[in-house]
Amino acid sequence: MPSGSALLEVRDVVAGYGRGPAILTGAGITVEEGRTHCIIGPNGAGKSTLLKVVCGLLPARAGEVVFDGEPITGLRPDQILRRGICLVPQERALFPDMSVRENLRMGGYIIADKADLERRIDEVLEAFPVLRERGGQRAKSLSGGEQQMLTMGRTLVLRPRIVMLDEPSLGLAPRVVNQIFGIIRLLKDKGITVIIVEQNAVVGLSNADLGCVLDLGRTLFEGPADGILADPRIRELYLGKRAGAA
């Protein structure tokens, strides 16, 4: 696919926190519509930072983010959210004392039309029967897997075009991780473009169409996920011994 048809294009981004050193020193990723992308790289490579730049939580010091042909660098987080780019952050981002339904309502906070919002929430509950059962329960009473499901369901209220997931499997039991990747496939089936950051590169890449390898704040390599999984150099460098187990 030519790069002009990319849904999201991140080019040569330099970014860091506060007055601190740059974490990203020239990172980029080309995101194609309707496909699942996995960003891998060692700890501190800047994977999460890259997602924060895309959704506007962290300003880019240099470089460009282009969404749907328009530059979105420098927009506020809520403006980027309105365009349909949602981030599911690494730490559980729920409101612990709100009910499941109230959490979903917060997911559609920027939607002013109440009736429309309730319709969208019902749609999400349709897709996640477990959440429907737990509708009135406080979010903190859910299991880890259910909480992650709620976080992802909450994102869907906005009918996003791109969902970015930062380490969705972190701290979850293997069985639950399978469930979560099941949901990620569901997102893809709905036509949503997905970007996953995964510490567990093998699981991440085998669930993705395209991969992106980040190291020391730079993009080293982009390409088909199975190609990255098969590449002996990348296996040795970034997949470590886990590759053999897969």
Partner: protein, 290 residues
């Protein structure tokens, strides 16, 4: 038996008033993690607004309560913008706010002293000295009205938080500031307005206590410990916790006051504060901090 019911009754109406005094404090802590030591001085400013409106134009303090709320809301926003907003990104924000609010309390205390002197004042609408008799029980009208209006305001506040869009934003910001921002909540605006609402609630309780307690500028030092004990008992930042804490301690202190003498009733709050911090520092409804 009548004695006990009488004490319970007085404790309960005072509990309502204390709950309103504490509601703004706990709301502000919940959303902004500001430990507002200046809260009672804002209550006193509210009391002065109602006192002067009553003295100068004869306006009933319950009727002037909305005016006190509006004045204090505006004052709250100005204070927040001038003093707290610029520090919001600081890593030691909560600790700093203790010093900053202490300074705010001192400044307003001094200013009020210069303006109005240290004379004890009390608003005196006719009902402030009347009572309702229920069989053998006796209920001072002033405290009864103040308690009722306080409870009505707290119910209104709870409904606002539970059902309105801005209420959702306030609760979300309280529970997870980053996530709220991620979902498009303007947390800066939420903080500013919530500070204003919290101070407006202080103004409302000021109007109400202006006819049940005598007040003078430095009286706020006595109230801060009382209010802190209520919200610490309930769990910092939790509205319902503050309400339950207020009723519990008001009733306990009414019993202490009537059995050991009124000098000791204030001691109830200080002792409670020590005990809670020793036994259950997160409060009745709070969660353990990591």
């Amino acid at each position: 038996m009548t004695d006990i019911l009488q004490i319970l009754l007085i404790g309960a109406v005072l509990g309502g008033v204390y709950a309103l005094m504490a509601s703004g404090l706990t709301l502000i802590f919940g959303v902004m993690k500001i430990i507002n030591l200046a809260h009672p001085i804002f209550i006193i400013i509210g009391a002065y607004v109602s006192y002067w409106l009553f003295t100068l134009v004869g306006l009933d303090p319950i009727l002037s309560m909305p005016i006190a709320m509006i004045v204090l809301f505006c004052l709250g926003i100005v204070v927040y913008k001038l003093i707290f907003e610029r520090e919001a990104a600081s890593a030691r924000y909560s600790e700093m706010t203790v010093l900053l609010t202490f300074a705010v309390a001192l400044s307003f205390d001094g200013l009020l002293g210069v303006l109005f002197g240290n004379t004890q004042r009390i608003t005196s609408p006719s009902y402030a000295v009347e009572a309702i008799l229920l069989g053998d029980l006796f209920l001072p009208k002033g405290q009864f009205y103040a308690g009722l209006v306080s409870i009505a305001l707290i119910v209104a506040l709870a409904a606002f938080l539970k059902f309105t869009r801005f209420g959702y934003a306030i609760r979300a910001t309280t529970q997870n500031r980053d996530a709220a921002q991620l979902l498009g909540v303007n947390v800066g605006l939420v903080s500013t307005v919530t500070f204003g609402i919290g101070i407006a609630l202080a103004g409302a309780s000021g109007a109400l206590i202006s006819f049940i307690f005598s007040f003078f500028p430095a009286r706020h030092w006595e109230w801060i410990a009382l209010l802190m004990s209520l919200i610490v008992l309930g769990g910092m930042g939790r509205l319902m916790g503050a309400v339950v804490g207020a009723f519990l301690l008001a009733i306990v202190s009414a019993f202490v006051g009537s059995y050991f003498g009124s000098t000791w009733s204030m001691m109830t709050f200080y002792l409670a504060l020590f005990l809670i911090l020793l036994v259950r520092p997160q409060g009745l409804f709070g969660e353990k901090m990591e």
